[in-house]
């Protein structure tokens, strides 16, 4: 590592910590979730938040967007939403007598996809395809999405009528899946007493800008990952493939995701190398939604299974 990079490293690390601290003051008692979300973004992955309404999913995303200086767009998914509503359409401009592409809400740096599972599979897959490829093709023309580009999808876990659960292959596109959970007692009281969260977010000053984030992502990518870690991750994958009878094992893509997320976590921890602990910290969020196949998705069970995986794989 060169000296310049090292300097960048500590500087960026400090600002990332500042983002965390600031966000922690707004959303109370949710530091682990904030940290995981941030980690996911730094690892250039998309995030799936799954929880009941009203625990602050959207607030969390908006807060992150604001403090990272990202321009955020929001798509509320409903079952009559069409792909064109997300991606954009080509319309005829009579004044200029030309067709003009009207960009949809997907063209944002941080896209909040609210209640993704309410949309029809067709719409879902349009959105997910854009996530995967980071570009959009409409009427034969390809448009590149802005850089950085994050999708944070939220999903309601309650089995409600009129939802279309995401298929397994689509779940795999999300680097991480987190739950927010109820606030603890103290935080809840403060929330009730305190200022309105929206106002706090409105008045917040961004700490980083998009260019910084792209650079940080590069730094994260350069974090050292030793053979010992590669072995460890491989053992985790192997374990899921061989040790349990009822579910399918993790795909190689899951292994890559685990590695990427662990690197980002190591960065947030201020380390230039990945430790097994980093893998374990991000592990549950990364693999839980990939483990459950075929039997429908149940968050709690999946988390427990993922946790068991990491508890039984040996660290050397």
């Amino acid at each position: 590592m060169t000296a310049a990079l090292k300097l960048d490293f500590s500087e960026y690390h400090l600002s990332v910590i500042r983002v965390l601290d600031k966000a922690d003051q707004v959303i109370l008692g949710k530091r682990p979730q904030l940290k995981l979300s941030l980690c996911c973004l730094l690892a250039q992955g998309h995030l799936l938040i799954e929880d009941i309404p009203g625990v602050g999913k959207t607030t969390l995303v908006r807060l992150l967007a604001k403090s990272l200086g990202l321009q955020s767009t929001r798509i509320q998914f409903t079952n009559d939403l069409l792909p064109a509503d997300i991606l954009g359409t080509t319309v005829f401009d009579p004044e200029r007598r030309a067709f003009h592409f009207h960009k949809g809400p997907i063209f944002g740096q941080m896209v909040i996809a609210d209640e993704l599972n309410r949309a029809t599979p067709k719409t879902q897959s349009a959105c997910l395809q854009a996530m995967e490829e980071r570009r959009v093709t409409v009427d034969g023309v390809t448009y590149t999405l802005p850089e950085p580009f994050f999708v944070v999808a939220t999903q309601n876990p309650l089995e409600q009528a009129g939802t279309y659960p995401l298929p397994e292959s689509q779940l795999d596109r999300f680097l991480m899946r987190i739950e927010i959970g109820y606030p603890n007692e103290g935080a809840e009281k403060q929330l009730l007493k305190g200022e309105k969260r929206d106002r706090l977010i409105e008045t917040m000053e961004p700490i980083l800008n998009p260019e910084d984030i792209v650079k940080i992502q590069k730094v994260v990518d350069d974090i050292h990952c030793s053979d010992a870690i590669v072995d460890y991750i491989q053992r985790v994958l192997h374990h899921t493939r061989t040790q349990s009878a009822e579910q399918w094992g993790l795909s190689p893509r899951a292994g890559l995701a685990l590695l990427k997320a662990a690197k980002a976590w190591a960065f947030i921890e201020g380390r230039s190398m990945v430790l097994p602990e980093d893998v374990q910290e991000v592990g549950v969020s990364v693999i839980a939604h990939r483990l459950n196949r075929g039997e429908g998705f149940r968050g709690g069970v999946a988390n427990q299974k993922a946790l068991e995986v990491f508890q039984s794989v040996q660290v050397d």
Partner: protein
């Protein structure tokens, strides 16, 4: 029912024993021929070959012995099952040592529990584990300890067989194997006015709910013959309202002297009751399990049957 846990005379758990295989003896005879030939022709190259082969034999012994070192087994949770079928016991083979362990054969230590070919585990890396499933011979109902296993290997050259005896902690239940075709006893509910005590019936006018598989012992009146004509399967019509009923599985309802047969009939009743999703109770001479529903309740009843020791 602890016959399985009997002391195994002479064998110390975890100790590795080793003997040459028949192939090993043939090999040794070959080595002897080579050495005698070397002496006869006073040929040092042949001597060298003979001694080298002998050394291979010795090293093979060491390697075979080491191939079993530091192995442990752990039992995984074993699902309850009915007696009368081969029992599959999931196990975890743990390598506590450094090196690779390869070609391990697992077999129950006692001959009467063996079933089919020995289970073969291709490899376990150092400080790793692997999950495998051992199949045991069918056994009568009861509660069993995981049987002591004998692990053996002939790796790498097949000249020696090393084996050791290991035991894993864990127990499993074998329910009585379901048999008998007496009808399941229906119990009147307080909110139901009048129901026949005999077979499960239904009242016309009840709202049709679903079809389910026909079970032996049920009345043919409820079979949906149209479906039978179409799909060649016996299906039974289930009506809304039947779920309000509950069943009673009682020891004294079976007019047989053989306790095992009674238990088998009861086991079948429990299966049927579970299938219908209605609450049921079970009454044994010594024990009563009151009304309940769901997999855990079913499990509790079946385990009582498995544990049952003779009529009082």
């Amino acid at each position: 029912m602890k016959e399985w846990v009997d002391r195994l005379p002479g064998w110390k758990q975890g100790k590795v024993y080793i003997v040459p295989t028949p192939n090993g003896l043939i090999f040794l005879a070959g080595v002897a021929i080579v050495i005698v030939a070397g002496a006869t022709y006073n040929n040092n190259l042949i001597f060298l070959l003979g001694f080298f082969l002998f050394a291979i034999f010795v090293i093979g012994m060491v390697e075979t012995h080491n191939n079993l070192r530091d192995l442990q087994i752990e039992a995984l949770p074993i699902p309850d099952q009915h007696a009368g079928e081969p029992i599959s016991i999931p196990l975890k083979l743990v390598n506590g040592g450094y090196g690779l362990r390869q070609m391990i054969e697992l077999v129950p230590h006692k001959r009467e529990f063996r079933y089919g070919h020995p289970l073969q585990v291709d490899e376990v890396k150092g400080h790793q584990q692997t999950v495998c499933s051992l199949v045991c011979a069918p056994l009568p109902r009861g509660v069993y300890q995981v049987p002591a296993l004998s692990l053996s290997t002939v790796y790498p050259l097949g000249l020696f067989r090393a084996w050791m005896m290991l035991r894993a902690e864990g127990e499993f239940y074998l329910y009585p194997s379901p048999s008998g075709n007496l009808p399941l006893r229906l119990v009147e509910h307080e909110n139901e006015s009048s129901r026949s005590e005999a077979a499960v019936g239904h009242q016309r006018g009840d709202e049709f709910r679903e079809h389910r598989n026909y079970q032996t012992g049920e009345s043919f009146h409820r079979v949906d013959w149209k479906i039978f004509a179409r799909r060649r399967r016996l299906m039974v019509k289930e009506y809304e309202g039947t779920t309000d009923r509950s069943f009673s599985v009682r020891f004294q309802d079976v007019p047989v002297r053989d306790a095992e047969k009674i238990l088998s009939q009861m086991s079948r009743w429990l299966d049927q009751a579970k299938e219908r999703g209605a609450p049921f109770e079970m009454i044994l001479p010594s024990k009563r399990v009151s009304f309940g529903q769901g997999p855990n309740h079913y499990k509790e009843c079946q385990r009582e049957l498995a544990r049952f020791k003779g009529a009082a």
